[in-house]
């Protein structure tokens, strides 16, 4: 008997000891571990997506904003039972192909059937009211309001603004910390470059969920919630009127326009044509539209303003002129004879017979013969060095991605490609901006700005800064100064030539603007694949440049005929604006063109 009793006591002791030790292990030793699991279990963080920053133009006119859009969702736990009946109805109302809903539900399936899944964004208001009316017959179907981008009707700006798009798995992998699937991110243009500023900071709500992930309420009445921080509202340097004028001028053609304020590097207009419709991207991008854009031979997705590379043609003549003047190779008294061309190994022709002329008139009349001879005097290395000083052969650093570097050849380049005995004749063409020389419209705009403002500008940029929500003041972003320090006289001489292009008897004489002194230079880029590209660079007002423009129109021919008028129109639009006019009148006294011209020309 005692034995049996003892055994029961031992058994009891063992059982109690085991339970005690197990509880000690769970509740004391592993408590942290279990506590974490309990927290994960019951509190779900629901992201608050902050409002994306909007865009203002330089006059604080709202040009890109956010609009509410409706997104239809389905909660599988309720919906699935009726899916067979509801699928065809919803699919016809939403105007999508049969099987669409099942596909989306399958692609977005999660561990819990209680989490709603987005079926379609940007649904029609009519569909929303239909949903409202029939909500009792549509178990598990609801809609939410999300924000979508909204654009002005007057300007397109597809290549400046860029579009946002649902994040793809690759991007998600690269930016693991912040984004989650379904987020919208800037994919091109400013939307991409300023993504971090625009997106703001996500917040989250702590939601209590039960064991089946069904929401049952807010955790601690929202005390632990973190509010999202709105994205920064960007103030662009664009002038919407100028942008509109530039877009209209290029519509129907392929090409690019970049207008910049020389003193600041602020871009006033930025166009690449053809454009595409940003509205199509503001919610679910129809696959057909994107496919069409990719396959379009006009390449509308190609941002010509920063990506297209062409020889600059005659617009590059000022570069050789400045190099020669600065190096003391020539002055205004140096003249060359033009008999219609120049022989150097072979015959290089000029567009006219200009006789004897100095550098100013060589620019005015765009005399090729003058510059064929000049570049041989300068030498390739010197010339190349000056091209680099003016920002060619490297990225300008504009706040838009995808910028092309371009090509400025030097001796090493030729030696590499043609050997030690590279044909010196190749150099001759460079004097007039042809040959193995590639520049982008933005580089040309920067070059024009440097000339206009006597060698001082800033990295070209589209965003000035952001608008502080509290002070309502612009907080500027800082951009590096870009300088090309040459003697003032060098600039004066070259600008004088450019002035005469428009106001003298030069190639751009038809571009004269009443009341405004504009300077410029035409150019024609030879194109082996078709008609030449027309180029024009220019700035105005001559005495106190407010705007510098570079224009390229592809495959149309001579620069003065096509690109010049466009540049003129853009410049006129900008300068004719009331406030500009007043500013101009106050600042710029009447100046003596003739006298000044004579002085330089001596």
């Amino acid at each position: 008997m005692t034995n049996r009793k003892t055994f029961l006591y031992i058994a009891l002791t063992v059982v109690m000891a085991l339970v005690f030790l197990r509880l000690f292990q769970m509740q004391i030793l592993d408590q942290k571990n279990y506590e974490e699991k309990a927290q994960e279990n019951s509190i779900r963080r629901v992201e608050q997506i902050p409002l994306r920053g909007v865009f203002y133009d330089r006059n604080l006119k709202l040009i890109v904003s956010n609009n509410p859009a409706y997104t239809i969702r389905v909660t599988p736990s309720e919906y699935n039972k009726y899916a067979n009946t509801l699928n065809p109805i919803l699919e016809s109302v939403l105007d999508v192909e049969p099987g669409y809903i099942n596909k989306i539900l399958y692609n977005n399936r999660t561990y819990s059937k209680y989490i709603p899944i987005r079926i379609k964004r940007g649904i029609d208001l009519k569909v929303v009211s239909w949903l409202e009316e029939n909500s009792e017959h549509l178990p598990g179907v609801d809609y939410i309001v999300e924000m979508q981008r909204s654009y002005l009707d007057s300007i397109v700006g597809s290549h400046v603004f860029g579009y946002t798009k649902e994040i793809n798995p690759k991007q998600l992998e690269a930016e693991k910390g912040y984004y989650t699937a379904g987020d919208y991110v800037g994919n091109t243009g400013i939307e991409k470059f300023y993504e971090k500023q625009l997106r703001g900071v996500k917040g989250y709500n702590c939601i209590l969920v039960d064991s089946k992930r069904k929401e049952i309420g807010r955790f601690k009445d929202g005390m632990d919630d973190v509010n999202s921080i709105k994205g920064k509202d960007l103030v662009l340097s664009l002038d919407s009127d100028v942008q509109k004028a530039a877009e209209e001028a290029l519509r129907g053609r392929r090409g690019a326009i970049v207008a910049v304020e020389p003193k600041t590097g602020e871009i006033l207009a930025f166009v690449s044509s053809p454009e595409y419709d940003l509205n199509q991207f503001s919610y679910v991008t129809p696959k057909d539209y994107l496919r069409d854009l990719y396959s379009d031979p006009q390449k509308p997705l190609f941002n010509r303003a920063v990506m297209s590379l062409n020889p600059p043609g005659s617009t590059f003549k000022m570069l050789a002129a400045m190099a020669a003047l600065e190096e003391g190779i020539i002055d205004t008294n140096t003249t060359y004879y033009c008999g219609g061309g120049f022989s150097y190994g072979r015959f290089y022709k000029c567009d006219g017979v200009h006789g004897t002329l100095n550098v100013i008139h060589a620019i005015e009349h765009s005399c090729n013969t003058f510059f064929y001879q000049l570049i041989l005097k300068i030498g390739l290395e010197k010339w190349s060095d000056y091209a680099h000083r003016f920002g060619f052969g490297k990225k300008t650093g504009i706040d838009i991605g995808g910028e092309a570097t371009g090509l400025v050849p030097d001796e090493a380049y030729y030696r590499k490609h043609y050997g030690a005995n590279w044909p010196r004749g190749a150099m001759v063409s460079l004097g007039i901006g042809q040959g193995e020389l590639n520049v982008s419209p933005i580089q040309l705009a920067q070059y024009t700005a440097l000339i206009a403002n006597n060698g001082r500008t800033f990295v070209p940029h589209i965003v000035k800064g952001y608008l502080d929500d509290k002070t309502k003041k612009i907080v500027p972003y800082q951009f590096k100064e870009v300088t090309a320090p040459l003697k003032q006289k060098t600039y004066d001489i070259v600008k004088r030539g450019m002035f005469l292009v428009v106001n003298g008897s030069g190639t751009g004489a038809a571009l004269k603007i009443p009341d405004v002194k504009m300077a410029g230079k035409t150019g024609t880029a030879q194109n082996p694949h078709g008609k030449d590209h027309a180029l024009f660079i220019g700035f105005a007002p001559f005495d106190n440049p407010q705007i510098a423009v570079s224009v390229i129109v592809e495959n149309v021919g001579f620069g003065a005929t096509y690109a010049g008028p466009i540049a003129k129109h853009v410049i006129e639009t900008y300068l004719s604006k009331d406030y500009k006019k007043k500013k101009m009148e106050a600042k710029a006294p009447k100046f003596q063109l003739e006298a000044e011209g004579e002085q330089i020309a001596d």
Binding site: M1, R4, K5, L8, Y9, L12, V15, M16, L18, V19, F20, R22, L23, F24, M26, Q27, I28, D30, Q31, N33, Y34, E35, K37, A38, Q39, N41, S42, I43, Y111, L208, V209, D210, S211, I216
Partner: protein
């Protein structure tokens, strides 16, 4: 007020207050787990009512003439068999098992009552003068008395109760003084059956152990062969029983082996139970502040998983209080069982002790992850009217025996 110095001698306060403590603790936990529940929010009041009724039964049985118990054995057993048959006909199905009889608005589980019926009959049989526990015939008789309700319960099917019945039969025979060989003969088929559930290799290993044991006991070849044949049959029978189990019980046994394999399915309760208890820490999250409990992560937590509520909201300290109350209860019952000289009463109390202990082990083993999830309540603590009524009634009998223990010396 004059204190009756005899009272301590007649009434086991430690026994009573440990029972009362467990019941009150249970009520608190039931309140916490159901107060915010959409459908179970009335359970606290129901349990409180059951507790009052059960306490009355406790005192009624406490005051009952002790000698009547033995005489009523056969009637108790007959009644319980009748109810087990009845439940198969008119029973209500809850979570896959037909185990409830509804009478006048009250649900009742006959399997709870059958435990006491069986304990009475076996105790009665074993305490008879001419019963020879080591005889093969009486072992079989005992087993037969036990197996009848077990078979009826397995048909329902109710796995947890079946374990309890086996434990009670075994411990009663043990208490009566069965020899090691007898115990082996009784126990081996069960162990072989369990081993067979884990696969062919463990089945073979168990049979090898049986053969080794038979050599140790050095019995004649025919007896040995018979015992081996029974064990072999038990192994195959287990497979049949396993298949007879309801699907949710099968998956529970499977998921015990790897609970994380299906975290939202069968292993879910086991994981959530551990998370609830573990996250309670030393002092717990406080009454009504356990998020696992309040957010109803464990379905029907107030029944079999009631310990999770205590573990989460009252922490290690709370768990220890429950443990301590049970220790007191068990020690008191064992003390009373050994102090009475009447063999029937001693066996009866040991049977009751075994019921409590088996429930305690299976329930605690389940919630702390030692055992598969087998639905069985924690005595006095879990929600459930019939369970509380029977448990308190049985303890009333124990207290009765304490009251009259000196009469039987």
């Amino acid at each position: 007020m004059r204190i009756d110095y005899n009272l301590n001698d007649k009434f086991d306060f430690a026994l009573f207050f440990s029972m009362l403590g467990l019941t009150i603790f249970g009520l608190i936990a039931i309140y916490s787990s159901t107060v915010h529940h959409p459908t179970a929010s009335g359970n606290f009041e129901k349990q409180l009512f059951s507790a009052v009724v059960s306490l009355i039964l406790f005192f009624v049985l406490y005051m009952f003439p002790t000698s009547y118990f033995k005489d009523s054995s056969i009637y108790m057993y007959a009644l319980s068999i009748f109810m087990l048959l009845l439940v198969l006909v008119v029973g209500r199905k809850i979570s896959g098992a037909r185990s409830w009889i509804t009478f006048a608005g009250f649900g009742f589980q006959p399997s709870e009552f059958a435990k006491i019926g069986m304990i009475f009959l076996i105790s009665n049989f074993l305490s008879k003068q001419d019963t020879e526990i080591d005889s093969f015939r009486d072992i079989l008789k005992t087993l037969a008395m036990g197996m009848l309700p077990v078979v009826l319960i397995l048909v329902q099917p109710d796995l947890g109760s079946t374990f309890v019945f086996f434990a009670v039969i075994l411990v009663l025979m043990y208490w009566k003084g069965i020899s090691l060989l007898g115990l082996f003969i009784v126990l081996a088929p069960g162990l072989v059956a369990i081993a067979s559930l884990f696969g062919i290799y463990s089945f073979i290993a168990a049979l090898v152990v049986v053969i080794a044991a038979l050599f140790y006991f050095k019995k004649d070849i025919i007896s040995s062969a018979a015992v081996f044949a029974i064990n072999l049959a038990a192994g195959f029978f287990a497979d049949y029983v396993y298949k007879a189990l309801s699907e949710h019980q099968q998956t529970r046994i499977r998921s015990f082996i790897d609970p994380t394999a299906d975290p939202l399915g069968a292993g879910y309760n086991a994981i959530q139970a551990k998370v609830a208890i573990g996250s309670g820490g030393l002092l717990g999250k406080g009454f009504l502040h356990g998020n696992q409990t309040q957010l109803q992560f464990i379905p029907e937590q107030w029944t079999d998983f009631i310990f999770c509520v205590i573990g989460e909201e009252f922490g290690f300290i709370g768990s220890l209080i429950i443990l301590a109350l049970f220790v007191v209860l068990f020690l008191r019952i064992l003390k009373i069982a050994t102090s009475t000289k009447d063999e029937f009463l001693s066996l009866l109390i040991i049977g009751i002790f075994t019921v409590y202990l088996a429930h305690f082990i299976i329930n605690l083993g389940m919630v702390v992850g030692f055992m598969p999830v087998i639905g069985i309540p924690l005595p006095f603590v879990s929600y459930g009217g019939s369970s509380l009524l029977i448990n308190m009634g049985m303890l009333g009998i124990v207290a009765n025996v304490y009251r009259t223990r000196k009469n039987y010396t």
